[in-house]
């Protein structure tokens, strides 16, 4: 049984200004197996974030079902860790309290929270910054805190919504390597939304290529590339070409950067 099962999911938004319905997602079927690293790749407006938000439980499908680990998703919950586009940390809490925020809400003892936070702070490489506040750290460091916060809950799946989108090229590459390392050590199922082809091919075990208006899954491509991924290798480029062909065959107008974040 797959960890995440999305069957016949559609999402229709009402556009009150045009008085028309907009089909954001049209009959999506997708299964993510345990320990799979799936990248949802598509142009802006293809509904990839909407799909992720449905797995997270922030949004409800207009039709169809989302099942995580045998349970139909109806609301957000700590079995699904989310890493947001912006880190979304509590600015009034020091880093370690943010990492252990899940335990704070559960009423955990301070010493216990502190000790457990330390494990994940070390894991994402922020040792020494435990007592800093989010405003004192860089964007990349805050994003690491967001990842540590999601990991601490030991969730069934981790959902990431363009988490490195706002970072500079160098930091993004470092973060991608870190994420792969953590995923390999920690084991877990990850769904990662991106509009960068290179990013998807660097990270995933599978890439689901989406098309826009209406949002559909064009193809799910399993990636059989050795790690660390060589972004200049022959196999890498062949896959990239195939994805580009898929995207080009779509009608013009949808924007998609070939290299990350042009």
């Amino acid at each position: 049984m797959a960890t995440i099962e999305i069957s016949h999911v559609s999402k229709i938004f009402r556009d009150p200004k045009r008085e028309a319905d907009v089909v954001a997602l049209d009959d999506i079927n997708l299964a993510v197996a345990k320990n799979e690293f799936l990248c949802l790749l598509g142009p802006s407006g293809c509904g990839k974030s909407t799909l992720l938000n449905m797995i997270a439980g922030f949004e409800r499908p207009s039709a169809g079902t989302v099942v995580v680990d045998g349970q139909a998703v109806t609301a957000p919950g700590s079995d699904r860790g989310v890493v947001f586009q912006q880190a979304n940390l509590m600015p009034w809490l020091p880093i370690w309290e943010n990492v252990a925020f899940h335990m704070l809400l559960r009423g955990g003892q301070k010493a216990e929270r502190r000790a457990r936070a330390q494990i994940y702070i070390d894991m994402v490489g922020l040792t020494g910054f435990e007592n800093h506040y989010p405003s004192e750290l860089s964007g990349g460091m805050n994003q690491r805190v967001g990842i540590a916060r999601a990991l601490l809950m030991n969730p069934q799946v981790i959902l990431m919504d363009e988490p490195f989108g706002a970072l500079d090229e160098q930091t993004r590459m470092d973060m991608q390597n870190e994420l792969v390392r953590i995923w390999q050590e920690h084991q877990g199922t990850i769904v990662f939304v991106t509009h960068g082809i290179d990013e998807a091919l660097t990270l995933g075990t599978h890439v689901a290529v989406m098309s826009a208006r209406p949002g559909r899954i064009r193809e799910v491509i399993p990636l059989d590339l050795p790690r660390p991924r060589d972004i200049t290798g022959r196999q890498f480029n062949e896959t990239k070409r195939h994805i580009l062909d898929l995207l080009r065959s779509e009608r013009a107008g949808a924007s998609l950067e070939t290299s990350d974040h042009a």
Binding site: M90, W92, L93
Partner: protein, 269 residues
């Protein structure tokens, strides 16, 4: 650097010193009858007797300052505490729940434009001439600024932070307690600072009309006895206490909101 800083401290004193000196000179020149505008030195003299009982020139008030101050301060604190407790809880409920907003807010919006001072007659017939009408007025004056700022703070809480809280498994109660209220604190403190100002204003007003003790009462009583030096001393005392209460709130704020130090424009200093 140190030279510049010392110069700055001196700069700050220039205008007040000039005003005091000019006032002193003007009062002594005899352009106005001395009783109408007592010189600063006369005011200090009266004030000293009021506070320490130095020579008895303020007669029954000699040495009585601490009791007058305590009377006013206790009214301010009582009214302000009740206003804070009610305004923060009602404000949080209105800001958080649309249903509560629909039920409660219209009534509050109708009551709000009525100046607290205009409640004085009702306050007197309801509570008599004592502490209670004054506390009631202080409450009215402090309640609305705190309420409005709390509503504003709660409504402006970043939706993404609430999402993050729901993601780590928070229910409504946890989200309110651990995210919405902390996020609203800067706004709530802004309301408290406005509220404490209104609280002093209304205590003094109430003491002029509805109570027979406190700094406002001394001020009004001295006016009847033509002791304008004591009137000015009372005004200065009220100003000083208002300033100190605001300083107190700012001290608490600096402790509670220390995380804001690096996120505000002035934080760099």
């Amino acid at each position: 650097m140190r030279y510049i800083r010392r110069l700055r401290t001196l700069d700050r004193a220039i205008v007040p010193v000039l005003i005091l000196a000019g006032w002193e000179a003007f009062s002594r020149s005899g352009a106005l009858p001395a009783a109408l505008l007592p010189a600063p030195s006369t005011v200090v003299w009266a004030w000293a007797d009021w506070v320490f009982g130095t020579d008895g020139n303020t007669q029954t008030y000699s040495g009585h300052w601490i009791f007058d101050t305590a009377a006013s301060l206790s009214r301010v604190l009582a009214g302000f505490a009740i206003a804070t407790a009610l305004a923060v809880s009602i404000g949080a409920a209105i800001g958080w729940s649309r249903a509560t907003e629909v039920i409660i807010e219209p009534t509050l919006q109708i009551l709000r434009p009525i100046p607290p001072v205009s409640w004085i007659p009702l306050a007197i017939i309801w509570f008599g001439i004592a502490n209670k009408p004054a506390i009631f007025l202080v409450f009215l004056g402090a309640f609305f600024p705190i309420l409005l700022n709390t509503i504003h703070g709660v409504k402006n809480c970043d939706r993404n932070l609430i999402r993050a809280g729901a993601m780590v498994g928070g229910g409504n109660r946890e989200l309110l307690r651990f995210i919405v209220l902390p996020a609203a604190l800067p706004s709530i403190f802004a309301g408290l600072r406005i509220g404490i100002g209104s609280a002093w204003m209304l205590t003094v007003t109430a003491e002029m009309v509805a109570v027979k003790s406190g700094l406002g009462y001394v001020l009004w009583d001295s006016y009847y006895f033509l002791r304008y030096d004591l009137v000015l001393a009372a005004m200065a005392s009220i100003g000083m206490l208002g300033f100190l209460s605001d300083l107190g709130i700012r001290a608490v704020m600096a402790r509670v909101l220390h995380w804001q130090r690096n996120t505000t424009i002035q934080g760099g200093e």
